[in-house]
Structure formats: structure tokens, C-alpha cells
């Protein structure tokens, strides 16, 4: 066998994976689209390499190229990829098949889609050793069971006999990891492995990956858009922009002493602790990501770069150059030696804090229950799902109230009830002293509808693809009975485009001609068309790239300041919540477990769940130290919540509650601490006072 011969010949002190000047293009009928250009990287044994960049920068293409899985249209144009000294680019199918799954394994973004829905978990796992080492079936199943236990899944015997849809998202991802580990590969490629998961589940997966990497000595190629996550997992990092690697080096080096303008801009656009929407707002990267066939001459980042020098940066292709003194630190910038990297950003505009006014929205004791049936044919027992349980709060004019929680916590149900898409089971919603609790949206009058509007999560699906942008906004104006004539509405539409900082010419464009960030701006313009007083923003930036996120967030803030809008910001991203909200409400399984001002919630005393949530969020700052609190298990299903306190199954403080067992029996009362800080927990004030901060920022 050539494969085994090469294996023994490989010297473990040499790189596991060595990519040199790799270029990949996709060939369409019209043209060749270069996806990756002149990409080089080296992964040493046991090393974790992070590949970071925005969507479309080619990071996934690199990963798939290593697996030689580029589809019919993709082709490696030049360069080499050496795995253990053998060139992957020229391997034939049979050799590749021996390497795939046994020496290089991959973990994917969407675990549900990556598992075969019609095959049992055990069969999918056992297949790997049966294929690669010719293991007998029962032996392979035994190994599968053992690996399932290794990835810390409860009850492995049940799980290997289950189908994928019977597991939760976190469990599915653990199965995908188990599948990758079945053959003890030398290189593991992780393509955004936690993007589809909740933060507390993500923390568990990240810990598992790190631990297994150490245990088996596996090298990793970790692809992510999340800088914090990369800092957590990886030793080295490679930042990509528009098909090129722009900076590579040791993680701490690159984070603390970045030597490429794009890396710097990226760090300035993400909300790190210390950023503040008024005093230190985020700086978004101007302009848009270039399309692959519209890349500029010279430096790809040139048109968006603050340090751009005409006649130099746009003349020739920029090569990677070595940053001296550092451990394999390279930058693709001509001017990196001339730039003063420690200078503070020039155009940080300090904004005035908006004044918070009267109470606009008041909810009292709101409950929303659904009744569902459980049988496969519609029969079976009927169950009550308590999506929202005793929700009480008020929101004031000009205020940003963030609602934080993981999937299934009831935050979207709450938004639906407020909008009138669902009616509450009990309780009251007072909107400007009018009770709208049991009025569905069809029966609300136009005023109420235009006052409460929503910005949706996914801008790609919420615009009508066959209507121009201007038409969609005018349509909203018509519905809200705005203006007397079409001309008046047209004028207002143009003003709205100005408001969301889109050129007026965009009125005649179709949604497909817009980028994600631009679409979201149209969504915002539509929401504000009728002069909305309360805007529910349901994860408005989570589908956008980091550099665009900052711009869209700032836009929302600006409009809010001008119109004194009350913003209900629904998110799972605590960094952005800390950055922009005045008050925060943390939800878990339909209960509000903690509520207070942003400072109160982000500092001790915490609700135990908030504490875990905070510690789970990766922060891309080397100066920040975090206490690691990994929650065991998954979020319980809302169909079958635990008795007593909803969080008791995963709480690490449970043992400190007196009397013991109280958490199992009773839902805790809401404790009001000083300054109107609400915590729904049985812990005594003394114990709460002993809590330490989760995040510590080292002195600069």
C-alpha cells in the first residue's frame, strides 16, 4: 500500500498540512471566478489554526479544497497542498477516499443537515472504522458507543439507536464530532462548528473540541467568523479578506499587535467590553465587500482602507511580507511599517446620550400558553407549552431594552404577542394606556399597527423579491395611511432612504441587487415608515457580517435618538447587548430570570443563569480573563419543563440554597435588589453578594 508507506515515511516534526500559493477558481458559463488567490498556510502537528473572515472571503473554500470537495465547477488552478508530505491536489480518487474520514475529518456548520435522517446514529458512526480499518460490525458499534460516551453524551446506548431528529442541536453536533473522531484523524477541519448553536451549548462544544484535540494530539483547522471563539480555541490565526490571506501569525500576536489595516478595522467594529454606544461607539468599515469578479486592482482592501495611498496600493498585487521578530507573523500590506498602529482611531464621534422619557409600553403578568398534541397521528396526550410565564416590565420612550436568552426561552413568542400576531393567554399589554393584549393584529387600528413595528432577523427573506425597494416602502406607507397623494408618499419614501443612509437611486433597485446590510437598512426604513414608537428588533444583525453589523447597529441607534423610539432588542449576543442597551431582561424557559440596567446585569450579583451565559460568550480580547462555567446538558424542552425553578437542572449554585430541595419544589420569587434589579432565584442575598465577576479586564 502506498498510503501506509507514506505514513511511516512522514516525519512528525514536519508540518501536517502545508498549503503553498493555493489558488482556486470556480468556472461558470460566463467567466472564471477566482475564489481563493495565493493562499499559504502551515499547520504543525497538534496545532490549532484559526481561519477567520467574513462570508465570501473564501475560508470555507480552503477547507473544502483540503478535502478536495470543490464540486463540479471548482478547480485548483495552481499551488500545492501537502498533507504529511503528500500532495493532495494531485491525488486520485481512491487515495483520497482512504484519507477522507480516516486521516482528515471534517465537522460541519449545520449538524442536523450533516447527519443522514434515515440512518441510526450508531450505523453512521460505525461506518467509519468498518470502511477504513475493516472492523467487524459489532466491534465497530462497540467503538461507536465508546466514542459517544467520550463526547460526553448521556445514555450512549439509547443514542446510538436513535435517529438524528430525536436529538437536540447540541447533541447532534457532538455526534458529528464523534463521527470525525471515530478513525482518530491527524487533521480535523471544523467549519463554523458552533454557529448554529446556542452560546451555552457552544461553550460545551468548544471545551470538548479543545480537550479532545489535546487528548488525541489532533491538529485542527478551525474556520469561524467569531474572533473570540478563535482566540479560545486556536494557537495560530489566519485572517482572510476577499480570497486572500491578509494576516497570519500567533493568536496573541495578531490580536495585540495586528499589522494589517483590515484586521485592525475588524477589531474596531466588534463590540468588546468597554465599548459604549455613546462615549466609544464602534467604527464600521466603510463600503462593501467586493464581489469576486469585481475585485480592485492592487490591494483588495484598498478602497475601504483608511491608510490607502493612491498610486501605490492600487498598482501591483501585494505579496505577503514577514513581520520581523515574531513567530511566523506575516501581513499582506505594503505600508505596514509606516502605519502608527497604536494611534487611536481618528473619527470616533462621541454622541450624546438620549434622554429617557415616559413609560410607553407596560406589560403585566403576561402569559402565553400553547397546547400541542404528541401522537404521530394527531392523537396522544395534549400538553401545554408555557412559552411565556408571568412577564412584567415597562419600557420608556427613547430606551433600549434588550431581551436576552437562548433558543426556546420564549423571546420570539413575546415579540409575536406584542405585535398582535398571537394573543396572550392572560395578563395585560398597555401601549400608551391602551390595552392591546387580546387584540390580534387584524383588529388593531392603523395607528397602533404603525406605532409598533418589527425589524426581522433575516433580511434575505423578509423583502418581497419581485418588488422594487421604493415600492415596498411606499406600500408600507399606503397601509399606514400616510400622506394624501402618491407624490407625497414618494417624497417620504426618499426621505426614509436618506434616514437609513441609502442612496436615493436605490428606490428603483430590486432586493436581489442589494447586499445583506443594505437589505436590512430597507427593512429598518420600512419599520420606521409609519413613525413607529416601539420597534421590536428580533436579532437584527445576527445574519450580517461583523463589519456590517456595526454600521447597522449604529444606524438603529441614530434613528432611535432622533425619533425617541423605544427599542426592544431581542438577541442572544451578549456583547452587542452590553454595547447598546440601557436595560436588559434575561429569559430562560419562558421566565424572566433577571432584569435590571445593563451595568447591574453585567456585574455581580448575577442570576446563576446570567452568570453562565456571560462566561459562555467568547471575547476577542487578550486582556480579558473569563471564568469558565460550562453548563451541563441541554436546555430542557418547553414541553416538559423541570418542576420548581426552571434552571435547577443546570444550576451550579443549587447546593447553596437552604433549605435543600427548595429549587426542585418551588418557582423562586422575584427578589428586588437595590436600584430596581430583579433576580428570580432562591439564593439568599448573602450568597448572591459573594459572587465574583465573570469577566475581568486587566489594567492597560
Amino acid at each position: 500500500m502506498t498510503a501506509s508507506a507514506a505514513e511511516t515515511a512522514w516525519d512528525p516534526s514536519q508540518p501536517i498540512l502545508e498549503i503553498e500559493h493555493l489558488s482556486i477558481s470556480f468556472f461558470t458559463r460566463l467567466r472564471e471566478i477566482p475564489a481563493v488567490m495565493d493562499f499559504s498556510c502551515t499547520v504543525m502537528p497538534g496545532e490549532a489554526m484559526g481561519l477567520v473572515g467574513e462570508s465570501g472571503c473564501g475560508k470555507s473554500t480552503v477547507a473544502l479544497a483540503v478535502m478536495r470537495e470543490l464540486g463540479k465547477t471548482g478547480r485548483i488552478v495552481s499551488g500545492s497542498m501537502k498533507f504529511k508530505g503528500r500532495d493532495l491536489a494531485t491525488m486520485d480518487d481512491e487515495e483520497l477516499r482512504h484519507i477522507r474520514g480516516s486521516e482528515i475529518a471534517m465537522i460541519y456548520q449545520e449538524p442536523m443537515a450533516s447527519l443522514n435522517p434515515a440512518m441510526k446514529i450508531g450505523a453512521q458512526l460505525a461506518e467509519v472504522p468498518m470502511l477504513h480499518s475493516g472492523m467487524a460490525k459489532d466491534e465497530a458499534w462497540k467503538l461507536a458507543r465508546q466514542i459517544v460516551a467520550d463526547v460526553r453524551l448521556p445514555d450512549p446506548d439509547r443514542i446510538i439507536n436513535a435517529y438524528p431528529h430525536q436529538l437536540s442541536g447540541g447533541q447532534q453536533q457532538r455526534i458529528v464530532i464523534a463521527m470525525a473522531l471515530m478513525a482518530k484523524p491527524a487533521l480535523l477541519i471544523l467549519d463554523e462548528p458552533t454557529t448554529a448553536l446556542d452560546v451555552t451549548v457552544e461553550a460545551g462544544i468548544v471545551d470538548l473540541v479543545k480537550e479532545l484535540g489535546k487528548k488525541y494530539g489532533t491538529s485542527m483547522l478551525f474556520i469561524s467568523h467569531n474572533l473570540g471563539l478563535v482566540m479560545d480555541v486556536c494557537d495560530r490565526i489566519c485572517v482572510m479578506y476577499s480570497g486572500e490571506a491578509v494576516e497570519t501569525g500567533n493568536v496573541t500576536e495578531v490580536f495585540d499587535r495586528m499589522r494589517h489595516p483590515y484586521t485592525q478595522a475588524l477589531f474596531r467594529s466588534i463590540p468588546l467590553p468597554g465599548a459604549d454606544k455613546n462615549a466609544r461607539p464602534l467604527i464600521s468599515i466603510p463600503g462593501n465587500f467586493p464581489l469576486p469578479h469585481e475585485r480592485p486592482k492592487g490591494c483588495n482592501f484598498g478602497p475601504r482602507c483608511d491608510y490607502f495611498e493612491k498610486g501605490r496600493c492600487d498598482e501591483t498585487d501585494v505579496p505577503m511580507s514577514r513581520v520581523p521578530g515574531d513567530d511566523r507573523h506575516e501581513s499582506r500590506c505594503l505600508r505596514w511599517q509606516e502605519i502608527d498602529w497604536d494611534a487611536p482611531p481618528a473619527k470616533r464621534a462621541v454622541k450624546e446620550k438620549a434622554k429617557i422619557g415616559e413609560v410607553v409600553l407596560k406589560m403585566e403578568d403576561l402569559r402565553k400558553y400553547y397546547s400541542v398534541s404528541t401522537g404521530a397521528f394527531g392523537g396522544g396526550a395534549r400538553k401545554v407549552v408555557k412559552a411565556n410565564e408571568t412577564l412584567s416590565f415597562e419600557a420608556r420612550e427613547g430606551e433600549t431594552l434588550a431581551i436576552v436568552g437562548e433558543s426556546g426561552c420564549g423571546k420570539s413568542t413575546f415579540a409575536k404577542v406584542l405585535m398582535g400576531l398571537e394573543t396572550a393567554t392572560s395578563g395585560s399589554i398597555m401601549l400608551f394606556d391602551e390595552n392591546v393584549q387580546s387584540t390580534p393584529i387584524q383588529k388593531r387600528n392603523t395607528d397602533t399597527v404603525s406605532q409598533v413595528q418589527m425589524v426581522f432577523q433575516n433580511p434575505f427573506d423578509t423583502l418581497n423579491p419581485s418588488m422594487t425597494v421604493g415600492r415596498q416602502i411606499i406600500r408600507a406607507l399606503e397601509i399606514f395611511n400616510y400622506g394624501k397623494s402618491d407624490a407625497e408618499r414618494h417624497q417620504r419614501m426618499l426621505e426614509l432612504l436618506d434616514l437609513v443612509k441609502l442612496p436615493r437611486a436605490f428606490a428603483d433597485r430590486m432586493p436581489r441587487q442589494l447586499s445583506g446590510g443594505q437589505k436590512q437598512r430597507v427593512g429598518i426604513a420600512r419599520a420606521f415608515a409609519g413613525g413607529a414608537k416601539v420597534v421590536v428588533a428580533d436579532e437584527p444583525v445576527s445574519a450580517l457580517d461583523v463589519s456590517v453589523q456595526a454600521a447597522v447597529t449604529d444606524l438603529l441607534m441614530d434613528i432611535q435618538r432622533e425619533n425617541k423610539t423605544t427599542l426592544l432588542f431581542i438577541s442572544h449576543d451578549l456583547s452587542i447587548v452590553r454595547y447598546l442597551s440601557d436595560r436588559v431582561m434575561v429569559m430562560y424557559l419562558g421566565h424572566v430570570v433577571e432584569m435590571g440596567t445593563t451595568d447591574q446585569v453585567f456585574a455581580p450579583p448575577y442570576h446563576p443563569y446570567t452568570e453562565a451565559l456571560l462566561s459562555a460568550v467568547p471575547i476577542a480580547d487578550t486582556k480579558v480573563t473569563r471564568k469558565r462555567i460550562v453548563l451541563e446538558g441541554d436546555i430542557p424542552s418547553a414541553m416538559n419543563p423541570p418542576p420548581g425553578c426552571p434552571f435547577q437542572t443546570r444550576c451550579r449554585w443549587k447546593s447553596q440554597v437552604t433549605p435543600a430541595g427548595l429549587c426542585d419544589r418551588e418557582v423562586p420569587p422575584v427578589r428586588v435588589l437595590e436600584g430596581g434589579h430583579h433576580i428570580k432565584c432562591h439564593l439568599s442575598p448573602e450568597v448572591l453578594a459573594t459572587m465574583e465577576p465573570v469577566i475581568k479586564i486587566a489594567a492597560e
Binding site: M67, E69, K72, R97, H98, I99, R100, G101, S102, A105, M106, Y108, E110, A113, S114, L115, N116, P117, A118, M119, E127, V128, L131, H132, Y163, H165, V176, M179, S373, G375, A376, F377, G378, G379
Partner: protein, 362 residues
């Protein structure tokens, strides 16, 4: 599950009643009844005599009452003429009406008396159904495996030469109606003067003046052989093969682009196993419904083919009943068709749940 089936059966019953009533109404329109009177009585009857015949034979009165009688929920009609002789739905002339049952409709097992076959409907229809059953079985045995194979082969590599060839074949066969493909098949394989039979005969592979297959399936009523049954089976199957193969191909190409197929490939699974182990079961979920829908379609497909090949089955009977104004037989045929359609729908819905563990019916 039980409740679901019960509810579905209830809906089916209502549908069946509504459908049979429509057929009953249409077949019992006055012109039909007059025609029946003239064929049963005499062609030269006067109009008054015709009306008299209709009244005497229980064809007058409300359509609902007559439908009820046919169904067996309304007492059968009786008529006593001037001579004191009684006739009625539930007894023969000469029998004592007092001894006869009051109800005698579908529910009592009385399907009526066929005016064309001069025999009770139930018995003659049963034999015909059995004949058609054999035909359908043979068609299914040929059609389902062939079409699934073609669909999977063309769907596993979208756009390949295999795919294009098989797709062209599938489209061609589905686009050709049975009366065209039947005639072509007969011309090609079952004539002594044209097609390939004379060629084979000249090579000495078959006897001179014999044909490769038989163009008439009448002899298959007694004994089914490869020789007499191939052409009718192929005529029906060809159309269905193209159709199901297209469905399977669409489903297969979709499955092949799924991420779990990529997962399997990147696990190092050989292509053959990717198709057989990972793609196949997922790809068969959609065609299953289509295959179940083929049963009712087969029932109407046999009308043409049975007439073409003179095979005396259900389709042939339906044609005879319609052209000879045989009302009870026509009604019975429609009852059978309605039951077959509704039952296959139910089976397909239930089967779907078992094939796809993620689906729930509610």
C-alpha cells in the same frame, strides 16, 4: 393512529356516497331510462308504453329514493299490476312478495342484474376484476423496479450522459399515450409482416408466420403466458415507468445535493455505498406516494389497453357497460373504482409516516 384512520374512513365513506350518487344520477337520467326501456322491452314501443315500462320497473319516483333503494337503505320497490301479479326489486316474478326481504341494495350484497351479461353483476364483475388484478400485478412488478432503477441511475449523477439518455427515454415514454404505444408495440412485435417478427423468422429463431408476441390477450384469460401477456403489460408499464422514473430522479438529485451526502463522501464512503446506503431510502420517500397514486391511474389505463388487446377485464367491462347502457354494471364499476382510489390514498398516507420518521399527521 386509530383515531386518524377512523376519521379518514369516515371522510372516505362520505366521499364514496357523494361520488356514487353523482354516477347514479347521471346514469339514471330520463333519456337513459327511455333507452333502457326500448332495449329491454321493444324498440317499437310508443312513448306511453315506455313511460309505463319505467313506472312498472321501479325507475320512477324521486332520484333520492331510487338511490336509497340501490344502496339498500330504502325498502325496494314493488309493483302489482291489474292481473294481480307482483314484481319488485327484491324478488323475481312469480315469487311470493311476502317471503322476499324488504331491503335489497348494495349493503345487502345485491349489486343488481346486469342487462348486458344477463347475469347478476356481483358474480360477473368479480371474475373481471380478478383478470384485471393479474394484469395490474404484472404491470406493477415490471414498472416499479424498472422505474426506480432508472430514476436512481439518472439521479445519482445529475447532468451525466447516463442521466440525459435515461431522462430522454423517460420523457418519451410518458409523453406517448397508451393507444399510440400499444399500436406501435403491436406493429413492431406482433405482426407477421412488419416489425422484427419476419426478421427473426428469417433467421430461424421463431417459426415462420409466427410472431414474437401475441397481439391479443384473450387467451391470457385462461392461461397467462409470456407470449400473450407481454404486450398489454408493457403498454401500460411503459407510460408509468417514465412517470415514476422522472419523480424518482427529481427526488434523487435533490438528495444527492444534501449535506449528509457530502458528510458520507468526506467520511471516505465509496460512491456506490453513498448511493445505496445513504441516498436511496431518503430518495424513495417522495416516489412512494406517486407509486400509490398509480393504482387508481392503472384502473383507467386498463380501459384502453384491455380494449386494444381484447382482454376481458375490468376496463373492458366498463366500456361494454357504458356502450350498452347497462346501468347496474356501470354503477358497480364506479363503486369499485371509488373504493380503490380512496383505499390507496389511505395506505399511501399511512405508509408515508412509517417511511419518514419525521412526519407526523395531525
Amino acid at each position: 393512529m386509530g383515531l386518524f384512520v377512523l376519521r379518514r374512513l369516515g371522510v372516505m365513506l362520505l366521499t364514496a356516497i357523494a361520488l356514487t350518487f353523482v354516477v347514479f344520477y347521471l346514469t339514471n337520467l330520463p333519456p337513459n331510462l327511455e333507452k333502457l326501456a326500448r332495449t329491454e322491452g321493444s324498440v317499437r314501443m310508443t312513448d306511453e308504453a315506455v313511460q309505463d315500462w319505467i313506472v312498472k320497473n321501479g325507475h320512477s319516483g324521486s332520484i333520492f329514493l331510487r338511490y336509497g333503494q340501490w344502496l339498500g337503505v330504502v325498502p325496494g320497490w314493488t309493483y302489482t299490476d291489474e292481473k294481480g301479479q307482483s314484481r319488485g326489486r327484491c324478488f323475481q316474478i312469480g315469487q311470493d312478495p311476502a317471503l322476499a326481504p324488504r331491503y335489497c341494495g348494495l349493503l345487502q350484497g345485491n349489486w343488481g342484474y346486469s342487462t348486458f351479461f344477463k347475469a347478476p353483476v356481483a358474480g360477473s364483475l368479480g371474475a373481471k376484476l380478478a383478470a384485471t388484478g393479474w394484469l395490474m400485478l404484472a404491470v406493477m412488478l415490471v414498472m416499479v423496479p424498472t422505474s426506480l432503477l432508472l430514476g436512481v441511475l439518472s439521479g445519482m449523477r445529475e447532468g451525466s450522459v447516463t442521466d440525459r439518455t435515461l431522462s430522454t427515454f423517460s420523457i418519451a415514454t410518458t409523453a406517448t399515450p397508451e393507444y399510440v404505444s400499444g399500436v406501435i408495440l403491436v406493429a413492431l412485435f406482433a405482426t407477421a409482416s412488419t416489425g422484427i417478427s419476419p426478421l427473426l423468422a428469417s433467421y430461424g429463431l421463431i417459426e415462420p408466420n409466427k410472431t414474437l408476441f401475441l397481439a391479443s390477450a384473450t387467451s391470457a384469460m385462461d392461461k397467462i403466458t409470456f407470449w400473450n401477456f407481454t404486450l398489454p403489460v408493457m403498454t401500460i408499464a411503459l407510460y408509468g415507468i417514465g412517470y415514476i422514473a422522472r419523480m424518482t430522479r427529481a427526488s434523487m438529485t435533490e438528495v444527492m445535493t444534501q449535506q449528509y451526502i457530502r458528510t458520507a463522501r468526506l467520511k471516505g464512503v465509496p460512491f456506490r455505498s453513498v448511493v445505496m446506503k445513504h441516498a436511496l431510502r431518503n430518495a424513495l420517500i417522495a416516489p412512494f406516494t406517486v407509486i400509490m397514486l398509480q393504482f387508481p391511474w392503472l384502473l383507467n389505463g386498463v380501459v384502453i389497453v384491455e380494449s386494444l388487446f381484447n382482454y376481458k377485464g375490468f376496463g373492458w367491462t366498463l366500456v361494454q357497460a357504458a356502450s350498452n347502457n347497462d346501468i347496474p354494471l356501470l354503477l358497480a364499476c364506479s363503486v369499485v373504482a371509488v373504493i380503490v382510489v380512496l383505499m390507496t390514498q389511505l395506505i399511501s398516507d399511512i405508509g408515508y409516516v412509517f417511511l419518514n420518521p419525521r412526519i407526523r399527521l395531525a
